[in-house]
Amino acid sequence: MLRSLFFISLLGSLLLSAQEKTPAELDAHLRELAPRLVESTIAIFLGGGSGSGVIVTPDGLVITAAHVTSKPGQSVKVLLSDGRELPATSLGADHETDGALLQINSPGPFPFRPYVKEKTYKVGDWAIATGHPGGPIIGRPSPFRLGRILADGVGSGFADPITTNATVISGDSGGPLFNLNGEVIGINSNILMPWTGNRHVPMPSIIAKWDALMASEMIGRPSQSAMPQFEELFDEPYRDLRKEFLEALDARPADDTEARELRERPYILDPHHMQGLLDRWAPKEEGEKIPFLGLKLDLHKITQALITDITKGSPAEKAGLKKGDLIQALDGKTISSPTDFAFALKSLKETTSIQLTTNRAIVTLTPASVPERRHFPMPVAGLIPMMISDGQVESPPSIRKLTREFLAPLQPLQEKFNRSVMPIYEGDQLLTHATAITRNQLITKASEIEKKENLVIRFEEKDYLIRVVTTDEKRDLALIAVDIEGLEPIKLTAPEPEVAALVFTPTSRGLLPGVITQPSRSSPASGFELNVESDQPSAYVGISFTGDDIQPTIQTVELGSPADTAGFLEGDVITHFEGKEIESIDDLGKALKDFAPGQKVRFQLKRDEEEIKISLILDVRPAPTTDKPNRAALMRDRSLSSLSKRGGKLSKRRNDFPRVIYHDQLLPITETGTPLIDHEGNVLGINIARSLRHRSLAIPVSEVLAFYREKLSRGRQTD
């Protein structure tokens, strides 16, 4: 039995290495795969909100999350990747695992992805998440995000989920998690506060309830009443810790008086207390350690460190320290208060032996090492109904090792930028980075250095004062000059990257990996990026009608629109669309909803007395331009920021750029101003912001060059 298990685990590790692709292979593979994954990802409109889903059969069966559909038999609208909006009905919903099914009520075939029926994934595997973060946005395909599996659960999305560092956020709920074969392995369910805590319903748990879900059964309580279940988690973020603690308490030997006393207490409320006891009973190797002597001090005494108690069996007891002893020095350093002692102990880096001077003796003792006080984050309620935060999720050492191995072939790239990317400091505080574009000029993030003086670039342990040449508010770029021997300018020639292309940022701690999430475009200011609203055709013709007229008489033809190109004229009356008679503007609106941008459609017009047939290719509806932020969009953007920044720092200026590259690196805010490169080392742009949980932004090369040229031309004018 033992042997066979061992064999399986060996096989597992063999598979692991077999699957690992080189950066170049992975890049090519992802770019090829991406369109099919994005194509099968849909948005689901229900009530006032929206979620995501993935089509898994050609006739339109969708897997999504139970907290998106809430219950069986609901009529919902789905938005396909091609822009079509179709009616659908929710099938079964499993509120225990958060898996659910949905059927599109329209004849297919639809673009779909296969799904795994058993656990074919493991910790360390690459995984891809798609969905519609913040709801579907006009003109934005579902962003593509890459990560690795950090926990390979098979059960509920809450209790035993797949956890990845592929960043998802509200609106992604119900969207798919894919493996590198493009098969669905999980469904986005909920997130923890840290950016690396993205949790997905494992496919095997949905397969286990497949028949019930297909039969439109509801398992567990419906969405609203299901809340208490999540609220319990939310109420007691340390439930797992308490469980572990109680188990350990039960396992204490009968003669443990401390344990006996604890058993009589109804409830320990402080997580640190429970963790401290657990650490003592079953010490774990991982985590930071601090020195521990085992003595308590009298805090009444402000000017002396008087021992009031000695822990049994502690280093203090073994060294012969006694209650009532006055500590006067530690390693020769005078101790004249409990605070002094606390700081002196805290500053010990290694737990080698120390010397304590007391009023009675000088003793030498070796501190024990105990885990340092844990950090228990605040619970957070989020926009996704089940945003629950418990512990901190960090990539385990095994994942970090995999990442190091994966990046090893790219090591030369890291070195290539050593003399091109420079850190900018204000005193000892690192603000941002700058990238050399000439022998003495660098580009950086303007808002990080504005209103600051005496900024320096630190290079080979020397400080070089920088001078700001010019700044560009709209792109948040600054051109700075500095006198450093041997600055190597980068080449600004690369074209804009494709979706799913691997991208890297050279940082002082090595290359930071990520992937292009969506095509480059503008990044509007808060409240200016509009959601696709249900019941609004996304296909665009480019004509408008007189408001008070029922008959579809064209009043205006938008310049450059498909209608304009096809030769529509003002005053034309639309009589037929796709062979169907059109009697009113309403008729046309309804008919248009079934068509997607990119499709060719036929119109029949009446111009004066003449019948004209025109066909055109539908375009994507441009976002309406407004000069005031949209209130709903503003609320959404604020919520997304609020959620995001609880997991890490976001750049202060993090949107409102004319054109940016979108990627998913977990970019530290001080690593802006760095080049974003592809796997061959071509510079794609300059990192400009950590924007949200699921996105970082870079200014593309073309925009950097435009900035530089504008600066040069202005320079000439003034000359």
Binding site: I219, I268, D270, L299, R374, M387, K628, L634, M635, R638
Partner: protein, 571 residues
């Protein structure tokens, strides 16, 4: 009374541009006087309601002396639309109430039950009053109230909403629970909050609610007319720039409340005896407030939020800090820094605190786009009551009965999934997997029918269960017990409240606490609580739910400090 109300808002309506009004002790006293005066009456017209099978408890208001009760619509569990509404009385008794009408889309239910003794119907405010008043009161129910715990009332600012829906109002605090009654400062019912829409919570005038409810029209007194006078234009809601917006994520902000906040700042002592403790966590910046209790650098704060690497920020300087002692009973901690001549907090125990008294807390930290930043703003709210942490919860005291089993959740029928180890059921032959088919000869078809049968029984009653085990049918008797208590829920509706607040890590289990309605977040705990005389009367210890905060009174604080001074944590 009327003139007082008017004086409050004159400055506000003086011009279309909404000048920043002055706010002085006089204005604050008007608010305090009115709130204090009317809170006892409001408590008499409000009751706590729930629904069978739900743990949630909310506030409802009597609108007639015949016992017509305007309540929040409560979504029943398991889709059991027949589940009755329950009235919880402060003495722990509860009764079933009749449902006249449910309006889910409005978030309200019209119930009927005889007025309990000592209760009265809330007077209705004429619609016009909304024009002249800007401050309103609404009830904040404890997530799981303690026995005899009164209802707290929070003060808030309401904005008339711009067209097209000029009969609805936006609450400044962003409180979005549907079905909450809104009262004016004269203690009259004005509006009910509706379900969350995409933007923010809103309240609808009672007369507007009556427009689409015949039942409500029938019972409302005539003087509330459906013909609404034209409402004044909304004071321009301040649209702020992005970064500033982030600071105040609850959309609108009124010049009136800003003026009030400025006034509150003048109440707090010049040399501030409070500081910020921050620990740079590995991924999350965690911060908390603290008060200075000794001039040579001892600070008092909330223990359960402290992590490993502590730093103190005081008067623009950062000091490394050491954690010296913690006290679990009070969740307090002593932290020390290397500093001298710091101002020290002076605790005061005022003889009485009346419900409605204004209280102030300095807000030292604010969440912005990328981090917690130092802030110098103020939170205002009202004192509600003293809480006895040892008293049982209302649920526990109510006659809620249980078989002591947990049923399988995956089926609608009642199949035993687990049996409570100490329950009467454990002493019988009942086994996991048994199907319960009848209770006292009444058929049990699903969990809802069992819940309903149990609701008619008392704790300790002997009942007979008919069970099916495989093909075999048998019956057994057992005594009903109380349900096992799970940790108290937050009462924070994650669906509705979005990111309205971040609650504390530890929110309950305090021997004694002051309950007040200052809207605080987890990181605001550890800060002092002042009255309008600038006396420190407590230390905020638990951001418990939206607009409900607990503070420790000085007696509890002093006792905890003494315990900690006696002996530090082990080094």
């Amino acid at each position: 009374m009327k003139s007082l109300l008017l004086s409050l808002c004159l400055a506000a309506t003086a011009s279309g541009d909404f000048l920043l009004p002055a706010w002085t002790a006089k204005e604050e006293n008007v608010i305090q006087t009115l709130t204090t005066k009317h809170t006892p009456d409001l408590r008499k017209s409000c009751v706590m309601v729930g629904r069978l099978g739900l743990s949630e408890i909310r506030t409802a208001v009597f609108i007639t002396k015949n016992g017509d009760l305007l309540a929040p619509y409560l979504e029943p569990i398991d889709g059991d639309d027949e589940a009755p509404y329950l009235l919880y009385l402060p003495d722990g008794s509860r009764r079933l109430v009749d449902v006249i009408e449910e309006k889910k889309e409005r978030g309200i239910a019209l119930l009927k039950t005889p007025l309990p003794e000592g209760h009265r119907a809330a007077p209705l405010a004429p619609d016009q009053s909304i024009i002249s008043a800007h401050w309103f009161l609404y009830p904040v129910t404890a997530p799981i109230p303690k026995l005899s715990e009164p209802i707290a009332f929070a003060i808030d600012h309401l904005f008339p909403r711009p067209e097209p829906d000029a009969v609805s109002f936006v609450l400044e605090s962003g409180m979005t629970n549907a079905g909450t009654p809104i009262f004016d400062l004269a203690g009259r019912l004005v509006a009910m909050t509706g379900p969350t829409d995409k933007e923010t919570g809103r309240a609808l005038l009672i007369s507007r609610l009556a427009e689409d409810s015949e039942k409500l029209r029938e019972i409302l007194p005539e003087r509330v007319s459906a013909d609404l006078p034209p409402l004044p234009l909304s004071p321009a809601l301040k649209e702020k720039e992005d970064d500033e917006e982030d600071k105040k994520k609850e959309a609108p902000s009124s010049p009136l409340s800003e003026a009030r906040e400025t006034f509150a700042q003048s109440l707090v002592p010049g040399a501030a005896p409070f500081a910020i403790i921050f620990n740079e966590g590995k991924a999350v910046t965690h911060s908390i407030s603290a008060v200075i209790i000794r001039s040579n650098g001892f600070l008092l704060t909330k223990a359960s939020e402290l992590g490993p690497d502590l730093n103190v920020r005081y008067a623009g300087k950062t000091y490394p800090a050491a954690l010296l002692a913690t006290d679990e009973a009070s969740d307090l901690a002593l932290v020390s820094i290397d500093a001298t001549n710091l101002p020290v907090i002076q605790w005061a125990s005022p003889e009485t605190l009346t419900a409605g008294t204004s209280l102030v807390t300095p807000i030292l930290l604010q969440e912005t786009s990328d981090e917690m930043v130092v802030s110098d703003s103020m939170a205002l709210g009202t004192f509600s009551h003293q809480l006895d942490g040892n008293s049982p919860t209302l649920h526990a005291a109510s006659e809620v009965t249980s078989l002591g089993i947990v049923a399988e959740q995956s089926t609608s029928e009642v199949r035993v999934a687990s049996i409570g180890p100490d329950s009467p059921a454990a002493k019988t032959d009942l086994k996991n997997g048994d199907l319960i088919t009848a209770l006292d000869d009444k058929p049990v078809t699903d969990r809802a029918s069992l819940t309903r049968l149990l609701s008619q029984k008392r704790v300790g009653t002997e009942v007979t269960l008919k069970i099916k085990r495989g093909e075999k049918e048998t019956s057994l008797s057992l005594a009903l017990t109380r349900p096992r208590l799970t940790p108290p829920p937050t009462g924070i509706s994650m669906a509705a409240n979005d990111l309205a607040m971040v609650p504390s890590v530890r929110r309950f289990g305090f021997e004694k606490a002051i309950v007040h309605t200052l809207p605080l977040n987890a990181w605001d705990c550890g800060s002092p609580l002042y009255n309008l005389d600038g006396q420190a009367i407590g230390l905020n210890i638990s951001a418990s739910s939206a607009n409900r905060t607990l503070a420790l009174p000085p007696s509890i604080i002093q006792a905890a400090i003494q315990r900690m001074l006696q002996s530090s944590n082990p080094f």
